[in-house]
Symmetry: C2
Subunit: 573 residues, 2 copies
C-alpha cells in the first residue's frame, strides 16, 4: 500500500508519559492510540503484526492437536461461582449486572468456560486427552496499567486448556506445549525468551512456568543461576541457606537501645550486622485486620507471594496501633504476647547469637538462639531470593536476579476446576474420576510489544520478517523525478504481483522525513530509489537492522528482494 | 483430523427450545453451546467456519482499500458522551463502572471509537477518503435473544467506517461497499441475499441498506415489489395511496353505537368496512406519559419506527385512564379535547364518508370528511406497508411482504458523529469542515447461521465449499476390515499431504451413525470406503447436497476429490 494512505500519524518526539521504549515507539509510529487507562485502539501496522503472531500461535497449537474454539468475553457469574473464583478473585475481575439484573463478568481467563464446554463431552476416558484453545479479547481490571501494551486492561490472548486422565499424560502434554511455546517465540523473532518456574497464583495447581523476555524494563524479577541454568520467578524461587556457623552461641541479654527502630540503627548502635539480626515484618489480614508477624533474617525481604500462599488470603502492610501489644521497631520472638499469627522464615533455622527486638520499647536482645530461646514449631520459606543466594538446584551461591517481561505462562492445574465444577469421566473399569487439566496462555499484544522492546533502536522498531507489518518498504526519493517515479512504480507493481507485502512511499517529502517514517514502521527490507542511485542504474537495498546494504541493478531489484525475504523468513522457521 | 478426536457431541433429537432449524442444527451438530441468555461458546467446526467467513470479509474489505484496525470492546463512557449516545441509546447498551468507579461500556458499534482513532489524522483534506474496519467481539444487551446465533447478545462483527470530504465521494464509496457486500454473500454461499432500503434507527444518517436473506423464519419484514424489484424493510417502506374516490361525501352524523369498541364491531354494526373507518391508535411517551394519538385508515397498522422517527423519543402502548379525557374505543378527530399529541396518517388525506369515534362513550360519527370536519394541519407517513400496497417506485399495487434475516447493513451517516465529536479537516482553501461518514456492518456468526438456515435438510447443514469446516469427509465403513482401514488411511494421508482439509471417521461404529454424524457436519464432499465398494475396487464419492454421486477407482479417488474441491470453490469466487 501507499504510505500516503496509511491511517495514523508518525512523529519524532518521545511522549513524556511513555516510560519504556516500546510504548514510546508504538505511539510515535502510529501503532496504537490511548482510549482509556490500559485500553488502546490499534492502527493497521499493529493489527498486521498481531494477525501474524496469532497465525504463528494457531499453527503451533494446531500442531499439538489443539482445537480452536471460542468462549464468550461476557460470562454469567454463576459459572465462576461454580469454581469459587467469583468471590476468591479480587477486583481485577470486572463484575457487572445486565439489563435483567443478572450478575455477569468479563472473562480474564477461561478455565470455567473450558470445563463448561467439554463437561458432557468428556464423560468417557476414551475421549482423552484433548486440548481446546481460543484467541480472544480479555479484560483484567488492573490497578496499575503501564508500559503501553505491556500491562493493559483489555488484551487479546491465546488461552489453551488440556484435559487428561493421568498426571503422566498431563506432564507429557505439558512438555509438548512448552516446546510449542519455544517455537512461537523463536518464530516471532524472540528466541531469547527463557522459561522459568513460577508461582501458580490464583490459577491454582502446582507446577507452572513463565516465559520471560529478559530486559531491564520488565516488571517481573527472575532468579537465574549462572552456574547450572536454574531459573525461577523471584515470587516462586525457593530460598535455601547453608547456615552461618561462624556466630558465637552467646547468652541471651537484654540491651537498652533507645530510639533504635530500624535494623540499620540497631546494627550500628550494637556494632552488629543485618545478617546477624532478626527482622520482624508485620502485616494485617484484609478480612479481619488480624496481625501477622513474619520473623526473617535482617538482610532478607519477605516474599509476599509465598506468604500469601501460606495464608490463603489477602493482607496488607500493618498499621501498628498503641493498643495492639506490638512495639513497632522492637518486635522479637522472645515474650511476644500480642494476639497475632507468627511465622518464622527458614533463614533463621539453627541460628544463634542474633540481635532481636525485646517486645518492649527501646530494648533489644543480643545472643538470641532460635532453638534455645523461642518455641518455634515450624520454619517456612517466606524470603525473597536475591543476588548471590544459594541456587536451589546446584547449591552454589550463584543466583543472579534479572528483570523480565512475562510473555506467556503454562500451568499444571490438576483437578482444581474439574472437581469444583463436577466434571467427571468413567475409566475403563467404570469408575468415576476428575480429569486433570493444564492451561497455557500467551498475550498477543504484549508479545508484539516485547519483540519491539527487544529489537529496536533510537529510531524505531526492527521487526523480524516473520511478524513485520510489511516485508519491503520502497522509498522513492524525489518522486517528482519522472525516472524515479517510474522505476519505483514498476518495482512496486512487480513485488505486489509476486504477493510481496509492500509499503510504498512516493510522497513528495524530503529523504529525511521518508527515512524517519520508514524507521518508525520498522519494515525489515528497504529499497531506496533516488536520482543519484539511478545514475548508476541501481536500487539501494538495505535491512532495517543494518546487516544488509547493497546496490543492485534496477532490473534485478525485485528478484533480490524476494530472495532476501525468503532468507529472512527462513531464520524464523 | 479424526472424527474420534473432535470435541463436541452430536445427536439426533431436535432440542425442544430451538425455534428455528439453524439453531437446532448448531446444537445437534456440536457447533455451539449455550452459556447464558444470548451468549454461546463455539466448538471447532463453527470456529473454522467463522474464520473462513472472516477471511472472505477481510479480503473484500481490503480490496476496497479498507485498513484493518482494532478498537476496544470496553470503552470509556466519555467517548459515547461526546456523541450523545451514552444517554440516547437504551438499555441494550451495557454500562458499568470499573474498579475506580469510572463509567465504562461494552461496545455494540464503534462510530465513536472510529472518530476517536482518526480525529487527529484526518485534519487535512489530502488524507481523504479512507476506510478503517475491524473484526471484533461486540455486546448488545438484547431484551429477547432468540434463534441461536441469529439474535444474540455477544457476537463477532466486522464493522467498517469510511470518511469523506463530499457527499458524492461517500456515495461512490457506498456503492463500492455495496458491491463488496454482494461479493461477501456470494462467496459465503448465499448469493440470494438481497439489499433493501432500511431505516437508519439509532445510527443516525439518511440513506441506508440492509442485506436480507429471505426466509420465513426471519424476524424482519421486507416489502418487495413484484413488478419493479423495489425492496425496503417494512420499517422504512414508504406508504402511498391512490385515494378511494368511490365513497360518497355525506353529512356528518352522530350514531349511537353502544358497546362497539373495536373497528370490527363498529363496521359490522354500521354495515361499513375498516377501509372506510378512521382508527385511533394511542401511545404514551416514556419520558412523561403524555398521550400520542395516531389516526389512520381502519385497515392499516401503525409503523412504530416511523412514529418514533417523527417523535424523536421512546413511547409505549397507552394505558387509557378515566381521567385522561380519552374515550377508549370511541376516539375520533372531531371534538377531541384531551391533552395529547395528534398525528394523522397520509392514508386519510382527501378522504370523506368515513366512520370515526365521537369522543363520547357509545357514539360514533358517520360521514366524516377529513377536509371539512377536522382542522388537520399535516398528514404524515405512519402506516405499515402490507401485501397489495402501492409500490413507491412503480406505483402499482404490487407490494408483497416477506420475512428475512438481516445479514448486514450499510449506512450513510453524514456528519452526525464528526460534528458531535468535533472532528474537522481543512480543505484546499484552508476552510474547516466536518468529514462525512459511512459505516458498514456484517455479523459473522449470524451470517454462518443464515447460510445454515438457507442451506440445510432434515439431517444437517449443507455447507458451501467456501466456508465449510472441512472439505472432505472420509467414512471408513467397517474400519475393522484391514483393507478398508488401509485404503482409508492412505486416502487420508494423500489428501492431507495435498493440504486438503479432511475429516476422517475411522471409528468402529455402524454406517448409520457414521452417515448421520457426517450429515450433521455438512462437509461438502464425502468419500465412503467400505468392504462392498472395495470389492469393486472403488471409493464412493458424493456431495452433501446430493448433486454428485460417483464411484471412482481407489487409485483415482484423491485426484477426483481435489478436482471436485477446485470446482466447488470456483462456484464461490
Amino acid at each position: 500500500m501507499k504510505l500516503e494512505k496509511l491511517v495514523g500519524d508518525r512523529f519524532k518526539e518521545r511522549p513524556s508519559d511513555c516510560q519504556i521504549d516500546s510504548h514510546a515507539i508504538m505511539v510515535r509510529g502510529g501503532y496504537i492510540k490511548y482510549v482509556a487507562n490500559g485500553v488502546f485502539s490499534s492502527y493497521m501496522p499493529l493489527r498486521r503484526i498481531t494477525k501474524k503472531i496469532e497465525q504463528i500461535i494457531r499453527e503451533e497449537m494446531d500442531k499439538i492437536d489443539g482445537q480452536e474454539v471460542q468462549f464468550p468475553v461476557v460470562m454469567p457469574a454463576s459459572l465462576w461461582e461454580e469454581s469459587g473464583r467469583y468471590t476468591s478473585v479480587g477486583s481485577e475481575l470486572l463484575r457487572f449486572t445486565d439489563r435483567n439484573g443478572s450478575k455477569m463478568l468479563l472473562g480474564m481467563t477461561h478455565e470455567e468456560a473450558a470445563v463448561h464446554l467439554v463437561r458432557e463431552y468428556g464423560q468417557s476416558y476414551s475421549k482423552y486427552p484433548f486440548m481446546i484453545y481460543q484467541i480472544q479479547t480479555k479484560f483484567r481490571d488492573e490497578a496499575r496499567p503501564r508500559g503501553g501494551l505491556i500491562r493493559v486492561r483489555e488484551f487479546t490472548m491465546k488461552d489453551a486448556y488440556s484435559f487428561h486422565t493421568s498426571q503422566e499424560d498431563l506432564e507429557q502434554y505439558y512438555a509438548k506445549c512448552h516446546k510449542a511455546y519455544e517455537n512461537v517465540y523463536r518464530r516471532a523473532g524472540v528466541p531469547e525468551v527463557i522459561s522459568v518456574a513460577s508461582d501458580s497464583g490464583m490459577m491454582g495447581g502446582s507446577i507452572s512456568h513463565e516465559f520471560m523476555l529478559l530486559t531491564p524494563v520488565g516488571e517481573d524479577s527472575i532468579a537465574i543461576c549462572e552456574e547450572c541454568g536454574y531459573s525461577a520467578n523471584v515470587e516462586a524461587a525457593q530460598c535455601l541457606y547453608d547456615g552461618i556457623s561462624t556466630l558465637e552461641n552467646t547468652e541471651l541479654q537484654k540491651i537498652h537501645t533507645p530510639d533504635k527502630h530500624t535494623i540499620e540503627d540497631v546494627c550500628e548502635f550494637l556494632g552488629s550486622s543485618p545478617q546477624k539480626s532478626v527482622k520482624a515484618v508485620v502485616y494485617q489480614k484484609n478480612l479481619d485486620d488480624r496481625y501477622v508477624v513474619v520473623f526473617i533474617r535482617g538482610d532478607l525481604d519477605v516474599n509476599e507471594t509465598k506468604l500469601h500462599n501460606r495464608l490463603g488470603e489477602d493482607f496488607h502492610p500493618a498499621v501498628i496501633t498503641e493498643e495492639c501489644g506490638l512495639h513497632a521497631g522492637f518486635i522479637g520472638p522472645v515474650g511476644l504476647d500480642a494476639d497475632c499469627d507468627v511465622f518464622y522464615d527458614r533463614s533463621l533455622e539453627g541460628m544463634h547469637g542474633l540481635v532481636c527486638g525485646a517486645n518492649e520499647d527501646d530494648y533489644h536482645y543480643i545472643g538470641f538462639s532460635c532453638a534455645r530461646d523461642a518455641d518455634i514449631k515450624e520454619y517456612g520459606d517466606y524470603a525473597k531470593i536475591s543476588d548471590g543466594a544459594v541456587c536451589p538446584n546446584c547449591g552454589k551461591h550463584s543466583i543472579k536476579v534479572s528483570r523480565g517481561i512475562e510473555v506467556g505462562n503454562i500451568f499444571q492445574l490438576g483437578t482444581k476446576y474439574t472437581k469444583t465444577m463436577n466434571m467427571t469421566y468413567l475409566d475403563a473399569n467404570g469408575e468415576s474420576h476428575y480429569p486433570i487439566m493444564g492451561c497455557y496462555g500467551i498475550g498477543v499484544g504484549r508479545l508484539a510489544a516485547s519483540v519491539c522492546e527487544a529489537h529496536h533502536d533510537d529510531y524505531g522498531p526492527i521487526w523480524p520478517m516473520s511478524i513485520a507489518p510489511w516485508q519491503v518498504h520502497i522509498c522513492a526519493v524525489r518522486s517528482d523525478d519522472s525516472e524515479v517515479k517510474q522505476t519505483a512504480d514498476t518495482l512496486y507493481e512487480q513485488l505486489q504481483n509476486d504477493n510481496v507485502e509492500v509499503m510504498y512511499d512516493d510522497r513528495k517529502v524530503s529523504a529525511g522525513v521518508m527515512f524517519s517514517d520508514a524507521d518508525l514502521l520498522g519494515i525489515p527490507l528497504r529499497a531506496v530509489i533516488s536520482p543519484r542511485n539511478l545514475k548508476d542504474g541501481v536500487v539501494e537495498i538495505s535491512s532495517r537492522d543494518k546487516s544488509i546494504s547493497v546496490k543492485i541493478p534496477v532490473a534485478e531489484a525485485a528478484a533480490e528482494l524476494k530472495k532476501l525475504i525468503a532468507q529472512m523468513l527462513d531464520m524464523y522457521k
